[in-house]
Amino acid sequence: MTDTNIYLPHLMRIAKITEEAPAVKTFRLEFLDAAAAEAFSFETGQFGLYSAFGEGESTFCIASSPTRKGYIECTFREAGRVTASLADKEEGDVVGFRGPYGNRFPIEQWKGKNLVFVAGGIALPPLRSVIWNCLDLRDWFKDITIVYGARSVNDLVYKDELKEWEARPDVNLVVTVDPGGEVPGWTGKVGFVPPVVEALNPAPDNTVALVCGPPIMIKLTLPVLAKLGFPPESIFTTLENRMKCGLGKCGRCNTGSSYVCKDGPVYTLAQLNSLPAEY
């Protein structure tokens, strides 16, 4: 039996670094090994483990769309040892990546439906992948609404893409910042995400809602969607339990009998309701 080393990452070159917001960067990564690049594919919602060699690995979603080939992107916030080391890297530096891991958003099941994306803070990256995936398959879906909130105008990520979505007639984009986070000339909304969603009042019929954000935002947004009449089967979210292996072995992400790294990170609210609230 010739088992391979499942923990060994691919080497990736940082092709491009984008400063998104204070302490938030996007890396565009390209495989050093052409054969690995050729063999690689992923689906929206999946994540990977990114190495800063010498410091360790961090878990980020793959923030680019699987329809965009030849590279992957991740967007991360400086939070600790590994992310600080990654943030110090320059274009041309080499990092590690293993993945893709986890399950996916079942977008083919949403054909003919309306989509409502709700993202808070640094949690736009996982939704950005599925947003671009859906926009690249635009005629599969009916109305597409994106609600995105951040603490302040400065904290908004993907500022250029927000402009692009804003300009598209086939996307309804609502951007909001927390009270006090606005600047003179701000044309978006001011307010927290849950009440903004409630005021927007999206119709639940034939609609799928995707919610990603900090635990508190998710906790307060889910009841709003429930009140608006979204059934738990139509609400999707992703969990961010701490992970080490990404392969269902190290036990770190275990919640109930679920391994978030294998059975997740994408869950419907109906599935979450059957798990202990340890996320």
């Binding site: 080393n5 923990y7 060994l8 992310t83 080490k244 072995k249 009998s257």
Partner: protein, 333 residues
Amino acid sequence: MAETFFLPQASLDALFAALAKDGRRILAPTDRDGRTELNPVASFQEVAADYIQTILSAKEAAFPKVERLMTFTLGAKAVDLKDAEPHAEPTVLFGVRPCEASGFGALDAVFNWDTRDRFFNARMEALAIIGVGCTKKDDACFCTSVGGGPGSTRGSDILLTPVEGGFLAEVLTPKGRAMVALAPGAFQPDPGLEKKVVEVPVAFDQPGLTRRLKDRFEDGIWMEQSLRCVGCGACAYVCPTCVCFDIVEEADAKGGHRLRTWDSCGGPMFTLHASGHNPRETQAQRWRQRVYHKFSYYPERYDMLGCVGCGKCTRACPVDMNLQEHLAEAAQA
């Protein structure tokens, strides 16, 4: 059906010599510095004469405390990454108890569902187990409550049971037969020996416990039971089935290694998010996770228990958490 033999005590050195000649290391319980632990031995005289169990578990033979996963050298805009070959020395585990021998099955369930863990598998392939059935027990033992027993053959390649003048040897697997073939003179025909082991009373109804846990998650007993737990993790480190691990870096500016080390769900850092949010904030939640992982999630996920009833956790706990008593309490209405 297992083939049975009589293995006279006087033949054990011949068996050990044959195993050594075949290039195998023999790990057996020895008494050193007042502790009974597994150590390399050359002769049967070195094996502890009188022990119930080692303090640490035998899992280390297949899942070491620290294991190198890869090595890297750092250059300017370059990384040289080298795969680590598993260091799998041919090894015979002699004298492990039936509970521990069966514990490898619980590790295998995790390491090999879905993807396969090369490091564990290489070590398991190089490992043969000569278990020894129990003629003594202590208050911490509860193997019979979790589907095992002091004479259980599960997990052993050969199971020895002490009899007058030596051992009854049950040869159970191809690996066991290969060991017999190395020292054919050591194994004599079985004159019809009686297999007699210690009696371990059943302490609680395990299927009942597993059912009961389904609706006991929000119960106050997890808080009550864990009030004195200090979260040291000793229970996990001595446990033959605890498999949770960490992946850490040992490196300087020039390069280093990525290692895997034992970990425990009993500490607050295990689940702490970088944001400060912690899904299992209290020791009660972490104690509950330990019990549920072994007695609810393992059965659901792998159709087996994540505990073999060895009692090592109970013996090692500095504040006398008694797993068997806690489980018996949790099994009750």
